[in-house]
C-alpha cells in the first residue's frame, strides 16, 4: 500500500514538474488498482470461531487433536488468513495451525492439528484472523474468541502393594491390618473360646496346657484406611536445574501413590502445599483418582511467605490417626512439624526426592566454573546436613524414604519401605 501510494504521488509530482501528461497517465493504472482494492474491501466482517479438543484431560505425552473452525456470519465475501498460536508448553505433532480461505456468506473453514504436551494446564488463546481485500492492501486484524483448556496429568506407574499400618482404620474390609482381632488371614493373638467359634480355629496346643479351658486363634482384621498425601510445592524446597525440576518427580510419585492406594480400596485425600493450599478432600475410587490427577496436572511450585514453613499444613483435612504420606525434598525447618504430626497419632511416611544428588548430578555434567574440590566438599556438607534431618525424623518413628531420583520410584519404595518398616518395628519393641 505504501509503495503504491508513494509511486502515485511520485508520478503525479514528477509529471507536474516535467509538464508531461504521459507521466501522469502512467499513474492511472495504479489509481485504478487502488480503487479496485478499495471496492473489494469487506465492510462488515462478522466471523465466529469454535475450537474443540478430542480430550480435555490426557496423560503426559499423549497426543490430542485440536479442530478449529472459522465461519463467516456476515454478508460479504471475506479473504482471511487464520492463525492459531499453539499454547506455550505444547508441541505440534502434525497438522496445520494457519490457513488462508475465501469465505462467502455462511462459508466455513476448518483445520486440524495434533499437539502433545508436558504435565500442566495449557490454555488455548484466541484465534488471530487477518482479513484483507483481494489485493492484500487493506488489512483488518481480528481476534476471535475460541478458548479451551487442556490439562496434561502425570502418568501413574503401577506399583505392587504398599504395606501401611495406620493406627486407625475404617470400618470396611480392606487390605490394611487393623490391629484388632477378628476375621482375617494373619495371626493376631489367642483368646478364650467363645460359643460359636469354629473348631478349626481352636488352638489345640495352647488348650492342651489347660485342663478346663479352650483357646481360639484370633486373626487380625484387615480394613480400609484413610491416606492423606501431602505434596510440597514450595519454591524454597524444590530445586530447579536446567535439566528439570525436582517437583516433577514429587508429582509423579504422588500420582503413583494415589493410584496404588485408591486401587486397593482406601480413602485418599491430597493437599498441595505451595503458593496456595490446594485441597482434594478424601474420597474413593476412579472419580477420586481423576480429581487427584487433575489437581496434580495443574500443580506448580510457587512462593508464599505465609506458607514458607509447614506450620499452616491443614492436617484437619485428614482423619485422626490416619496414614499421611508427605512428599517433599525437605528443608531443615520441616522436622518439628512432622514430629508434631507423629505425636498427634498420625502414621507418617516421608518420601523425599534428594535435592542434593539431583543438583550435584547437574553440576557434574555442566561446566559450572566451580572448583571440583570445593564442589565435592559442598555436596558432602549438604548430604551430612540432610542425613541429620532424616535421622531426626526416623528417631520419632517416621518412615523416611530418601529417593535419589535417578533410581526408579517403584524400586526405591519397595526396597526402602521394607527396611524402614523393620526399623520402626524394632523401635516400637
Amino acid at each position: 500500500m505504501t509503495t503504491l501510494l508513494g509511486l502515485i504521488f511520485a508520478l503525479l509530482l514528477f509529471g507536474l514538474a516535467a509538464l508531461n501528461g504521459n507521466v501522469i497517465a502512467l499513474a492511472v493504472p495504479f489509481v485504478a488498482y487502488l480503487g479496485w482494492a478499495m471496492l473489494r474491501r469487506p465492510e462488515r466482517i462478522r466471523l465466529t470461531a469454535t475450537r474443540s479438543l478430542s480430550l480435555d484431560r490426557v496423560s503426559n505425552g499423549r497426543p490430542v487433536d485440536v479442530t478449529v473452525s472459522v465461519r463467516n456470519e456476515g454478508e460479504s465475501v471475506v479473504e482471511a488468513r487464520i492463525d492459531d498460536p499453539i499454547a506455550p508448553g505444547l508441541e505440534l505433532v502434525e497438522g496445520i495451525t494457519s490457513a488462508i480461505a475465501i469465505l462467502g456468506p455462511g462459508g466455513q473453514v476448518e483445520f486440524r492439528y495434533t499437539v502433545r504436551g508436558q504435565r500442566g494446564e495449557h490454555r488455548f488463546r484466541d484465534i488471530l484472523v487477518d482479513v484483507t481485500d483481494s489485493a492484500g492492501l487493506f488489512h483488518t486484524a481480528l481476534t476471535l474468541e475460541a478458548r479451551a483448556t487442556l490439562v496434561v496429568v502425570p502418568t501413574a506407574q503401577r506399583l505392587r502393594r504398599i504395606t501401611i499400618r495406620p493406627p486407625r482404620t475404617r470400618g470396611f474390609a480392606g487390605p490394611i491390618p487393623a490391629r484388632q482381632g477378628g476375621s482375617g488371614i494373619d495371626f493376631f493373638g489367642l483368646r478364650e473360646y467363645q460359643v460359636g467359634d469354629r473348631l478349626r480355629r481352636i488352638n489345640w496346643r495352647a488348650s492342651a496346657r489347660h485342663e478346663q479351658e479352650l483357646f481360639t486363634n484370633d486373626l487380625e482384621q484387615e480394613r480400609l484406611a484413610d491416606v492423606g498425601i501431602i505434596v510440597d510445592a514450595r519454591d524454597e524446597t524444590n530445586t530447579r536445574t536446567p535439566n528439570g525440576s525436582l517437583f516433577e518427580h514429587s508429582v509423579a510419585a504422588a500420582a503413583t501413590l494415589a493410584d496404588t492406594f485408591l486401587s486397593e480400596g482406601n480413602r485418599v485425600g491430597m493437599v498441595i502445599y505451595g503458593s496456595a493450599i490446594v485441597n482434594v478432600f478424601p474420597g474413593y475410587g476412579r472419580v477420586q483418582k481423576m480429581r487427584i490427577l487433575r489437581a496434580l496436572g495443574r500443580a506448580s511450585t510457587g512462593h508464599n511467605e505465609a506458607l514458607r514453613h509447614l506450620d499452616r499444613l491443614p492436617t484437619r483435612a485428614f482423619p485422626a490417626q490416619s496414614q499421611i504420606v508427605f512428599i517433599s525434598p525437605l528443608s531443615r525447618d520441616d522436622a518439628p512439624v512432622l514430629t508434631r504430626l507423629r505425636a498427634h497419632g498420625y502414621a507418617v511416611i516421608v518420601i523425599s526426592p534428594d535435592p542434593v544428588s539431583f543438583e550435584a548430578l547437574w553440576l557434574k555434567s555442566a561446566s559450572s566454573g566451580l572448583d571440583p574440590a570445593f564442589q565435592h566438599t559442598a555436596v558432602r556438607m549438604l548430604q551430612v546436613e540432610r542425613r541429620l534431618v532424616l535421622r531426626r525424623l526416623r528417631q520419632v518413628g517416621i518412615q523416611v524414604i530418601n529417593w535419589d531420583v535417578t533410581q526408579p520410584f517403584d524400586q526405591v519404595i519397595r526396597q526402602q519401605l521394607t527396611i524402614e518398616q523393620l526399623k520402626i518395628e524394632r523401635l516400637n519393641r
Binding site: M1, T3, L5, G6, L7, I8, F9, A10, L11, L12, F14, G15, L16, A18, N20, G21, N22, V23, I24, A25, L26, V28, P29, F30, V31, A32, Y33, L34, W36, M38, R40, R41, P42, E43, R44, I45, E79, R81, I96, T97, S98, A99, I100, A101, I102, V109, F111, S134, A135, G136, L137, F138, H139, T140
Partner: protein, 171 residues
C-alpha cells in the same frame, strides 16, 4: 500455485522486454541495461530467503525502480504506449508476486484454485481498464484553465490523502 508463479515471471519478463526494448529502440542502451538490472534484482528477490532480503520488500523495490525508469523514459520522449504497457505489466507482476508470497506463507489454503483464478481474472480486468484509461489520457488532449487543473489536482491529492488515512483506521 505453479501457474501463478509462471504468470508472475511472464508478466515481469514482458514488462522488462517492452521497457528495455523501448529504451533500446531510442538508443538508450544504458537505461535498457538499468531496466534489466532492476528486473534481475526483482527476480532474485522473489527467490525466497535470497541474501536475507524479504521477498515482498525486494518486489516492491523492483516495482518502484521499474516505474521510475518508465517515468524517466516518458519524460525523455519514449513512446507512451509501450511504456504504459510495461508499467501495467510490472503492476500485475508485483500484485501476483505478493499473492504468491501470501499463499506460500500458510500451511493450508481453502479453495486455492478458486482464490487464484478469481484474483487473476479480476486483476486482468483492472489492468486492462487502467491501461485503456491511461492510453486514452495520453492520446486525448483537453485544454483546461489553470484553475480547473489546480482544482482537479487538489481533488486528486485529497482523495489520495483520505485513502491513505483510511488504510490505517480500517473499516
Amino acid at each position: 500455485m505453479n501457474h501463478l508463479s509462471t504468470l508472475t515471471r511472464a508478466s515481469l519478463a514482458g514488462a522488462l522486454i517492452v521497457l528495455a526494448g523501448a529504451y533500446a529502440l531510442m538508443g538508450g542502451w544504458a537505461f535498457a541495461g538499468a531496466v534489466i538490472a532492476v528486473g534481475a534484482l526483482w527476480a532474485f528477490g522473489m527467490q525466497r530467503r535470497a541474501i536475507g532480503l524479504r521477498a515482498p520488500s525486494a518486489v516492491s523495490v523492483g516495482l518502484a525502480g521499474l516505474i521510475l525508469l518508465a517515468a524517466f523514459g516518458l519524460a525523455q520522449g519514449l513512446p507512451a504506449a509501450p511504456v504504459l504497457l510495461a508499467g501495467v505489466l510490472a503492476l500485475a507482476a508485483w500484485d501476483m508476486a505478493r499473492l504468491l508470497h501470501r499463499l506460500q506463507s500458510v500451511e493450508h489454503i481453502e479453495n486455492r484454485d478458486l482464490i487464484i483464478r478469481q484474483h487473476v481474472t479480476q486483476l486482468a480486468g483492472v489492468c486492462a481498464t487502467g491501461l485503456l484509461i491511461a492510453l486514452a489520457a495520453s492520446i486525448i488532449r483537453l485544454d483546461l484553465s489553470f484553475a480547473a487543473v489546480f482544482a482537479l489536482g487538489l481533488v486528486a491529492l485529497w482523495a489520495l490523502a483520505r485513502l491513505s488515512r483510511n488504510r490505517f483506521s480500517g473499516p
